[in-house]
């Protein structure tokens, strides 16, 4: 009986563990291994060292990729120009604040990609407070609020590709924003301009993300006892004080989930960029790590470099995930 109890959990975990190792753990280490090589993704040889051409008819062998060991060269390539570009961007901002006329510097594609991911990380979470505002608004009982509630869920059920296409039309220089563009003098539209395109895509990303955060907050709000709000009203708390001191602290679990999902979403943004601009206009003006990795790997057949980008992205995510997990454990211990 004791033995059964000891093995039973592992037995139940076994199927999940198989998939987890095969589809998560192995590829992580595989990516890291490939990132230390130069490989075009298509050349293979037999595991015993023979070329595939030397095989007899009907003979088969275990194929392994033909990769050239390059050490950390792929990483060096990625970060080659980032220190220089960092200086240039810094000088640009210094110039802005000291009032000198400066132009946006020329920087490498890698630096653009990193910078764009940072823009995503900073701006994408704006969906959280907006989602909260919608949730607070929709958490009322009048009939028309309850009826319109479902409409606010709608962006969440749309496929990201559909959202990307819709926003592509929406941003078209000859589209519905035409008047606004001409008033502002933006002749190529929002996503046709190298300097503005990323912001346009992030704004499109908000559309479903706000709905998502709103759903999380609506669920969180139902957990707050109405009598507590009444007690707070008797205590004299209203408006911002009521929100900050009574409601928001209790919404922390919802905020935490929204934050995790939004930050991870910002880091792995891919679909909107791919569909709306394909990383352009120009070289990499809207590109992000996930899409750049995909592009380098599949189109440029630079598997080693693509894998190196994947590892860099993974490392960045790991930092966030570590912080999130630490927070989660701390909250659990408090509770």
């Amino acid at each position: 009986m004791g033995n059964v109890n000891r093995f039973a959990p592992w037995l139940f975990l076994f199927p999940a563990l198989v998939y987890f190792f095969l589809l998560v753990i192995y590829p992580i280490f595989g990516s890291f291994w490939i990132s230390l090589h130069d490989w075009n993704g298509t050349t293979f040889q037999c595991s015993d060292g023979r070329s595939l051409l030397e095989l007899e008819e009907d003979e088969s062998c275990r194929r392994v990729p033909v990769m050239t060991w390059v050490g950390l060269e792929n990483y060096e390539r990625f970060f080659e120009k980032t220190p220089r570009d960092f200086e240039r961007v810094k000088n640009y901002w210094v110039g802005i604040f000291t009032g000198e006329p400066v132009r946006w510097p020329r920087i490498s594609v890698e630096s653009k990609v990193l910078l764009n991911n940072i823009k995503w990380l900073v701006l994408f979470p704006a969906a959280i407070p907006i989602g909260l505002a919608f949730a607070l608004f929709l958490n009322q009982s009048p009939a028309w609020v309850r009826i319109t509630k479902s409409m606010f869920f709608f962006p969440f059920v749309l496929s990201p590709a559909v959202i990307a296409f819709v926003f592509q039309y929406f941003y078209d220089p000859a589209g519905p924003l035409k008047e606004i563009y001409s008033a502002l003098g933006w002749s190529s539209g929002l996503i046709g301009d190298q300097n503005k395109a990323t912001y346009g895509i992030i704004a499109a990303g908000w559309y479903p993300q706000i709905a998502y955060c709103m759903i999380i907050y609506l669920a969180g709000l139902t957990a707050i006892e109405p009598e507590q709000i009444e007690a707070a009203r008797l205590d004299g708390a209203k408006g911002w004080k009521l929100l900050k001191r009574v409601i928001l602290p209790q919404l922390w679990p919802a905020t935490f989930i929204a934050l995790v999902v939004t930050m991870i979403g910002a880091l792995r943004s891919f679909d909107l960029v791919q569909v709306m601009t394909g990383g352009g206009p120009g070289r990499g003006s809207t590109d992000v790590l996930a899409r750049y990795m995909y592009h380098k790997t599949i189109f440029d057949q630079d598997y080693g470099y693509g894998a190196a980008i994947a590892v860099i992205l993974f490392a960045i995510m790991l930092v966030f995930i570590a912080v999130f997990i630490q927070q989660m454990i701390r909250r659990d211990e408090e509770a």
């Binding site: 707070a232 009203r233 008797l234 205590d235 004299g236 708390a237």
Partner: protein
């Protein structure tokens, strides 16, 4: 401290009238209980006094000021909720000081007031705990503490004991009674439990369907209920009701009252007798100190007999009962009590 005066109060949700012409005068430092079955409007009435519900018409005055349009926090009332409604993310101290903080009281004053309330309620050792770490009775005390620190003129209680187990409820009932003496405050207390109302209140307001059935001191309601509803609601077990003819036929003395339709006798006022009303025992409850015997009359009316001590009746036994002298209540066709 202050008086509370409700004048011609009405409240309706859409077309349903939940409070209908309620007039109550609460004296300074009085403990008033609002009782009635669930859905009678007693909680709504309390929430109207607190300002959590608007009034459809009529006036609510606290002290000599009409407060219909005054914000809940400015009415100088404090409320203890059925669920306690403590803020789960705050400690006991923060829960108690929150109201004073948001209304901008000086820090030192807040600390003193919280300490004082904690002393009264024996919460000193629990001040840094969160509500989750407290028992039901302790949470109840914190909720009361939160009310005390605000120095309200009127305390409002909304079924504060109904989430506690029976033993704790009795204990808290005594504590509340002592607290009322200690604070010398005006208190309005909503309950569906007539025992709580009887033991705590100076004055009881019996409500049914938004209408006041009777207002009076506990023993006044017990001894002189104005109608069948109050007679049945106050006192436990309920008052027995038998048809007048049945009582006359059984030879109950004084049962012949003009216009009476029903005769009411409390279970504790019935005694077994040689002659009198005969019925069949169908259930016996042994409470140790007393025995409750449920009897079915030939006309299918159920009556209850409460006797001190232990009695071993069997199902099917025939018993004859009659009321002790001068304990009968008579009710007319409109269920109104007839006074001789």
């Amino acid at each position: 401290m202050a008086t509370v005066s409700l004048q011609g109060l009405h409240k309706s949700f859409g077309s349903t009238e939940v409070i209908n012409n309620v007039n109550v005068e609460v004296e300074d430092r009085e403990f008033v209980a609002l009782v009635g079955p669930s859905g009678c409007g007693k909680s709504t009435l309390l929430r109207m006094i607190a300002g959590l519900e608007t009034t459809t018409s009529g006036d609510i005055a606290i002290g000599d000021k009409v407060v219909n349009e005054v914000m809940p926090s400015d009415r100088k009332v404090a409320m203890v909720f059925q669920s306690y409604a403590l803020y789960p993310h705050m400690t006991v101290r923060q829960n108690m000081s929150f109201g004073l903080e948001v209304t901008g009281h000086p820090k030192q004053e807040i600390i003193e007031k919280v300490e004082k309330a904690a002393n009264i309620l024996q919460l000193n050792n629990l001040l840094e705990r969160k509500p989750k770490q407290l028992s039901g009775g302790q949470r109840q005390r914190v909720a009361i503490g939160r009310a005390i620190v605000r120095d309200p003129e009127v305390f409002l209680f909304d079924e504060p004991l109904s989430n506690l187990d029976a033993e704790l409820r009795v204990q808290m009932r005594v504590e509340l009674a002592l607290l009322h003496k200690q604070l010398n405050a005006t208190m309005i207390y909503v309950t569906h439990d007539q025992v709580e109302a009887m033991t705590l209140a100076d004055k009881i307001v019996v409500l049914r369907d938004g209408i006041i059935e009777q207002i009076g001191a506990p023993m006044e309601l017990y001894n002189k209920p104005e109608n069948e509803f109050v007679a049945g609601f106050i006192g436990s077990p309920r008052m027995n009701m038998v048809a007048v003819q049945t009582a006359i036929d059984a030879g109950w003395k004084g049962a012949k009252i003009a216009e009476a339709v029903k005769i009411g006798v409390r279970p504790e006022h019935l005694i077994r007798s040689k002659t009198g009303l005969e019925g069949v025992v169908y259930y016996v409850e042994h409470l140790g100190g007393q025995t409750l015997t449920h009897i079915k009359l030939p006309d299918d009316t159920d009556i209850t007999l409460v006797e001190p001590g232990e009695h071993n009746y069997n199902r099917g036994d025939k018993l004859k009962v009659e009321p002790k002298p001068k304990t009968m209540h008579a009710f007319d066709k409109g269920a109104k009590a007839i006074r001789k």
